[in-house]
Amino acid sequence: MTTIDATNPVPEPPAYAAATDNYLTHTRGFMSWAGTLDHKRIGVMYLVSVLSAFFLAGMFGMLVRTELMRPGQDFLSQDQYNMLFTLHGAIMVFLVIIPSVPASLGNFVLPIMLGAKDVAFPRLNLFSYYLWLIGAICAISSIFFGGVDTGWTLYVPYSTHGTTMGGVIPVAAAIFILGFSSIFTGLNFIVTIHRLRPPGMTWFKMPLFLWSIYATGILQVMATPVIGITVVLLIVERAFGIGIFDPSLGGDPILFQHFFWFYSHPAVYIMILPAMGIISELIAVHSHRHIFGYRFIAFSSVAIAIFSFLVWGHHMFLSSQSPLMNVVFSAITFSVAIPSAVKVFNWLATLYKGSITLNTPMLYALSFLFMFAIAGLTGLHLGTLATDIHLHDTYFVVAHFHYTMLGSALIGMIGGLHHWWPKITGRMYSEFWGRIACGLVFVGFNVTFFTQFVLGSLGMPRRYHDYSGPGWSPDTTALFFKYHLVSTIGSYIMALGFFLTAAYLIHSLFRGRKAPANPWGGRSLEWQCASPPPHDNFSEPPHVGDCYDFSVLEWDEAEQGYHWRHDLPREPGEA
């Protein structure tokens, strides 16, 4: 246990004191949470909400996989199946993955990484959360309006005049509202990073997580309005019959696809960029090595953000878009591969000569590298015109985007959750169960989705309730059955891993060892305040400097954590 030496003449050292008062105990009662302006509490509220939505949509996904395990209808009718995969996709994208890292972990960590007390606009932050909540209620209420079976992509004219289900408008309204939640969060973080960096923290001294959150913020602010307008037009057409997209009303269905993907492609990077930022932190901290090629990683985040606006047409190679446009979009699509590859190589180089520990956050980071490599490389098959024609709208695409969205974005998020769990809750979880669960998720995930690459190459179309029936060849049914069976078994293993994760994390809240301020040896500012942080984050101004220079830290056996080196002048005196 350390105390602050008030007589120290040099700038004050970080407050390592295990504060008696922290953000969790600062005030009490329901209203102290519901009306809080504390970015940490809002982050925790987001975390709980996003994980609840993840549970719900995950269950929908399990039902879908279970129905697909065998040919023929098992327990879901065609319409029920179509509703479930629609809600699985819509909830996962709009309620879970888009807000997952920025709004939950980002909210908690970002101001602390900047040494700030809060984000630039705390009220706007709370408003974003309530918009998320209204959006969530709106999306789930669609079930009571007759459901929605359009797929999360809401393609017209099916969504405007093809489906008789009444849930289309509630879901479209939810996307509109959630869009604003996302815009406000992005705007808030951009301003926070611009205005609240501490003296001495220049742009190129920021943790890379902040670069990725910044790039994400730009995408959120610039791309999201397009989806907002698009769903308004969709609602107008469906509700009032005003022809915008439906050709029978004089509209153009391809126009909708352009609008939709103009947002939804950048949205893929809204989902993956923050996870990439987490991985940069995790790999450096858990191998106690200065990040390799800081500038290349930082610039690649910005490059990804820029390129991502120019590639939406690769979702439309078969839509009847002109061949010339297809060629142009294919060419630009490949350019996105470069900054992604650069990041991977830099992460690998960071491991070189490191001191690598295989604890749970690092296992997730390494899983990310494994799965992101597959996600990125299979993007080549889909970006190439001649092969995309065969693979488009098959399970190959399903596998590719699950490797990106679940295998990379969400795995990165869960890695970050374990990394910052001691900071957020003040408790350590069980390393043993953490590693077991990570192993189950890793194995289950790959069994589930790698099989789907083969299934898609063999020709299995996506969004199919069944792969048998009057028109089906028995050979095809038998062939697809093998892979669907394996895939479903994999999904059960993965679900087991996630349930186990939930169990030991909840257990740690009550029985977990008290967390030290810096259990992993992180150098960025959030490791310089107590775990959990006090209400104002820092009782003393933290040390700014090279946030990947770990040479200032040393292990403290008594504390079971790292702290500032004794022989450095700024080191706080031992009690």
């Binding site: 179509n82 090629g293 520990t357 001649a386 065969h390 969004r463 029936g469 060849s473």
Partner: protein, 365 residues
């Protein structure tokens, strides 16, 4: 130019790989069109590049994790923090590779989107949830696409409702079918056989049943088949015309049942029972209509006119014209005599040949 060089290399390489393997080792389906070997070759090239980089990434990662595993609570390890020449190298090498992949993909693509001049043209209509194929000689088939081997075939496609997509895995072709536009795709089959055809753009309830068969024939056999497809209905004896409906029913099956169970449209059993009893139906506008032969015919020819209050009007209006008078007549009789054509809700099994012959089939009269 790189592109033309690759173009001349492609067939040679394709021929080579086609002989060393029956299908793709990475799980591509059988090859049955001229472009399939090109696509598979490209797929294999990209996959091998992917395998190389994947093994490299995971191998290096695994090696570093073992080699540099933590043995003590050291807070800091020294090592390079950047190396610009190295970083530029691993930026430029992938860049060159993807440019190469792009150009190879482009070659195949240009070929795949340019139908040869002499293509045999088939009109395709996508409707929820079946395909109609119309041939130059007037033949019209549902969910069965007949094509000749060794001759380029161009599909000119339209949709009457929402977006669909034609996908024939064995031919490696796919194209969305968009309402309000004509889209096209072409292929040249290289072997005879029976192949899958899927709808790959989500189109609602029965999307997974919007599948068809592609039947590939030798050219002379193909001529016979489509001639038969155009004429069979004319050869059916009048006395057996109601049974011809059993061969047309698959077009109705996505919305209408034979056993009284409800999909999105009235079961034929329901219509038949009303017809036999001479009952009336209530229409959406409140008027009633007697279910007689005329009513059944009108419902096929002009489905939006007399709409029943209990079902939405979702039947495509063009079906009557598409079928032609004789097939409409066959369907009307099929429904009026459902006890013979589908006894107990089970479609009676007949062949086209039987319908054209006297006495080959016990008569119901």
């Amino acid at each position: 130019m790189i592109a033309s060089g690759l173009n001349s290399m492609l067939p040679a390489l394709a021929a080579m790989t086609a002989t060393i393997r029956p299908g793709s080792i990475f799980g591509m389906p059988e090859q049955a069109s001229t472009i399939a070997p090109h696509v598979d070759l490209l797929y294999d090239i990209i996959t091998w590049i992917s395998v190389f980089f994947f093994v490299l990434i995971v191998g290096v990662m695994g090696y570093f994790v073992i080699r540099y595993r933590r043995t003590s609570h050291v807070a800091y390890t020294d090592g390079p923090t950047h190396n610009t020449p190295l970083e530029v190298t691993w930026t430029v090498i992938p860049l060159i590779l993807v440019i190469a992949i792009f150009f190879i993909g482009l070659q195949g693509y240009v070929h795949m989107t340019t139908p040869p001049e002499n293509s045999y043209e088939i009109q395709v209509t996508g409707q929820r949830w079946f395909w109609t194929f119309n041939y130059p000689n007037g033949a019209s088939e549902t969910n069965v696409l007949h094509v000749p081997v060794g001759r380029p075939v161009k599909l000119v496609m339209r949709s009457d409702d929402v977006i669909h997509s034609v996908f024939i895995p064995a031919f490696r072709v796919k194209q969305d079918v968009v309402p309000g536009r004509r889209t096209q795709l072409w292929f040249e089959a290289t072997r005879t056989g029976d192949f899958d055809l899927f709808c790959t753009e989500y189109c609602g309830t029965q999307h997974s049943q919007m599948v068809g068969r592609v039947l590939v024939y030798e050219p002379d056999e193909f001529e016979v088949v489509i001639e038969e497809a155009a004429r069979w209905i004319d050869k059916v004896l009048d006395a057996k015309l109601h049974l011809a409906g059993t061969l047309l029913f698959n077009q109705c099956a996505s919305c209408h049942t034979l056993d009284g169970s409800k999909l999105i449209a009235p079961s034929f059993k329901e219509t038949y029972d009303l017809f036999v009893n001479g009952d009336t139906r209530t229409l959406a506008d409140g008027t009633t209509v007697t279910v007689n032969e005329q009513y059944i015919r009108n419902s096929i020819l002009d489905p939006l006119k007399e709409v029943v209050d209990t079902y939405p009007s979702s039947m495509p209006p063009g079906i009557g014209t598409q079928l032609g008078d004789r097939k409409v007549e066959a369907m009307v009789r099929f429904i009026m005599r459902l006890d013979e054509t589908a006894p107990g809700g089970q479609l009676k099994e007949v062949t086209r040949a039987e319908l054209a012959e006297l006495g080959a089939e016990p008569e119901g009269e």
